[in-house]
């Protein structure tokens, strides 16, 4: 029974992981195989070490508690799974002795801390008016998603403590069940009075039900990840590994453009030299297929915390642009494309939609000052700016669709080498004013 459930959950989860992997691979290649040591160190520091979370000290600390709680209670999960498969009870206890008591006590304290943190998170999202949780893109599913995660976390922790409390009661009061006397229960011992006056077989049932619901809850949660913003608990690691290592001001140079420009500038170049079979590259991005794999990984990794949006100068002054929405739109579109591929047995059939216009408007794209505040703010290395720039490239180079003032500026550069209508020959005139 347990094995069936467990392997079914793992099977469904791995199916979804494959879909995510396939969808990310719809993006274009980008070489991030360099600097492996630096990348690994960055992953350890930023994802494992949570180094950027503490930019906001209070929530950062609460997040670290939930994160560490998640990590350490996963050790207990290992025992639960082994127990489930072998039909044993607290299988690790005899091997670990007093260290086992320490571990269980440690887990219990973290379970309590997690409950407290999650309640504060819930209050922040639902009671205290925090601007970044109230933005337009957070209405509906994103808000519910955030709350569901918090409810599940509280329920799981309560089940864990109930299970331990009932276990302790049985250890003390019902020797017939032969429960091994193991574990220390600094938190769940306070639940003991609740079980007094109940017959021991009911307490046993409570213990078993809590045990089952706890593990079933975790297996469900594992499969919920695919539909949720909560994927960051896994993807934060590859995302920080593959994050950009260059100075933030360095934007990519399009190689396809370099070749063309070199040809234009070289008087000896043969304009017909380029082989006609060569596929004409599309400049910039109008849909998820034009983004690179790291950008698509970014979209799946985003947990919609909104630290980017709360630092964005355009958003702070009431413009439509929200870097978080750029990431959410990219993921929504990518998932739509993924469903399309599933329906059409492996092929994408155009649905007449694109990331540009159907999800992200030009108004949003043109409001960006390219200041990198969003990139700096992201605790897990997501780069919304690169997507904005790729979409601007598409607008300008494929559609000639820039705001008219920018077209003026660009024709000035083209004609007189400056963004203003001054003659390049006059560039040193200031010298005469000395």
């Amino acid at each position: 029974m347990f094995c069936c459930l467990f392997f079914l959950a793992i099977f469904l989860f791995s199916k979804n992981v494959k879909k995510i992997y396939r969808n990310i691979n719809l993006g274009i290649n980008i070489d991030r195989s360099d600097n492996q040591k630096i990348r690994f160190a960055q992953m350890l520091r930023v994802a494992f070490g949570q180094s950027k979370m503490i930019d906001k000290p209070i929530v950062g600390l609460l997040h670290i508690i939930v994160y560490v709680g998640f990590l350490v209670i996963n050790i207990e999960l290992l025992e639960i799974i082994v127990d489930g498969i072998l039909g044993t009870h607290r299988v690790f206890a005899p091997f670990l002795g007093s260290f086992y008591n320490f571990l269980i006590g440690f887990f219990e304290i973290f379970a309590l801390l997690v409950i407290i943190s999650v309640i504060i998170f819930w209050l922040r999202r639902n009671v205290i008016n925090i601007k970044r949780f109230l933005s337009a893109e957070m209405k509906g599913w994103p808000k519910n998603d955030g709350n569901i995660i918090l409810y599940v976390e509280i329920i799981l922790m309560l089940l864990f403590l109930t299970m331990n409390g009932a276990d302790l009661w049985i250890q003390q009061n019902a020797p017939d069940y032969n429960y091994i006397k193991a574990g220390s229960f600094p938190v769940s011992q306070f639940l003991l009075p609740l079980f007094d006056g109940i017959s021991s077989n009911i307490v046993f049932i409570i213990e078993r039900v809590a045990w089952w619901l706890h593990i079933i809850g975790i297996l469900c949660f594992l499969n919920y990840l695919y539909y949720s913003k909560h994927l960051h608990i896994i993807l934060a690691f590859p995302n920080t590994y593959f994050a950009n290592l260059n100075p933030k001001g360095k934007f990519s140079n399009l190689e396809s453009v370099t070749n063309e420009v070199k040809m234009m500038l070289d008087p000896n170049a043969d304009p017909f030299a380029a082989s006609p079979s060569q596929e004409i590259a599309k400049f910039g991005a109008s849909d998820v297929f034009d983004l690179n794999k790291v950008q698509l990984l970014n979209a799946y990794t985003c947990t919609e915390c909104g630290r980017c949006t709360s630092e964005c100068p355009a958003n702070l002054t009431g413009k439509k642009l929200s870097p978080r929405k750029i990431m959410m739109d990219t993921r929504d579109r990518l998932e739509e494309v993924g469903r399309n591929i599933d329906l059409n047995k492996g092929d994408y059939k155009s649905d007449g939609k694109e990331l540009l216009n159907d999800y992200i408007s030009k108004e949003e794209l043109w409001a960006c000052t390219s200041c990198n505040a969003c990139v700096e703010a992201c605790p897990i290395g997501i780069d919304p700016l690169s997507i904005i720039m790729d979409m601007r490239r598409y607008l300008v180079m494929e559609k000639s669709d820039a705001p008219s003032e920018l077209n003026n500026m660009m024709s000035n550069i083209e004609n007189n080498g400056a963004p203003w209508p001054f003659n390049q020959m006059d560039k040193l005139n200031w010298k005469n004013e000395l």
Binding site: K248, V261, A314, W366, L395, I413, G417
Partner: protein
């Protein structure tokens, strides 16, 4: 004081002189009335420190930064490859510039296109002149003044230069008071990403007004900047708040120049 001589690279090469550094003036520094004052202050500093420098003059074209950030990679690369041909033609090794946008583009985006130079921002260059003893400042005129420094995005976040401008301000014995968002968290002035050249999208406030309000909260005598575009945006912001008589927006080069000029 000796008269400041501005030479172009081609003039000096003809005379058989190889200058120590190229001063990349930039379009704002060449044409914008306000930014020209920064240019003049900086050349005056170079002159006092006896730095052998040259400019490109009419051979200097826009680096292509605003075109690139607008999405026009073609125009950017046209500018870049043309400039690189000139720079490599003179075998230029070291470039200093007063504009963080030129700084970023030359430093980060030219190397892949064949233009590899040692590129430094003028605040870093002035700092090295002071450290090497080639330039001396007297805190006198600014002693005790309250100054807040606005981090240009393309100097700070883009390239992690936060300390050089602050160290220069400290040398002036000023009272440096930081805005609530500064350094990594510094709020943009609103000009980057080619916004300088267009109207902002619809919103409830202009970005430069918001940034100016943050600066005014520190009750400064002077708002210091390190970028000609930030300078324009903040100057407009201060005017909008009708504070232009009490509060000056000045480039670090102007402050240092006044402190050495006594």
């Amino acid at each position: 004081m000796n008269k400041i001589e501005i030479n172009t690279f081609s003039d000096l090469i003809k005379k058989g002189i190889t200058p120590e550094v190229l001063f990349w003036v930039g379009c704002a520094g060449s044409f914008d009335e306000r930014a020209k004052k920064i240019t003049k202050s900086f050349v005056s500093i170079l002159n006092q420190a006896n730095v052998s420098f040259a400019v490109l003059g009419s051979e200097e074209g826009c680096t292509g930064d605003p075109a690139k950030r607008s999405g026009n990679e073609f125009l950017f690369q046209m500018q870049a490859l043309t400039n690189i041909e000139v720079l490599n033609g003179y075998n230029i090794k070291k470039i200093v510039t007063t504009c963080p946008h030129c700084f970023n583009t030359l430093k980060n985006e030219y190397p892949e296109l064949g233009g590899k130079y040692d590129v430094i921002h003028h605040t870093q260059f002035i700092k090295s002149l002071l450290n090497d003893g080639r330039l001396k400042v007297q805190g006198g005129s600014f002693k005790g003044k309250r100054i807040t420094f606005h981090d240009p995005c393309y100097l700070g976040r883009a390239n992690n230069v936060y300390e050089a401008p602050r160290e220069l301000l400290e040398k002036l014995d000023v009272e440096l008071s930081e805005m609530k968002s500064c350094k990594q968290k510094g709020l943009c002035c609103g000009a980057g990403g080619a916004q300088m050249f267009k109207e902002a999208e619809k919103g409830d406030k202009e970005i430069n007004i918001k940034r100016t309000e943050e600066a005014l909260e520190t009750k400064p005598d002077i708002i210091a900047a390190g970028c000609p575009f930030c300078n324009t945006m903040l100057t407009d912001g201060v005017k909008n708040k009708k504070k232009e008589d009490e509060i000056k927006v000045m480039d670090i080069a102007e402050l240092i120049n006044q402190a050495t000029d006594l």
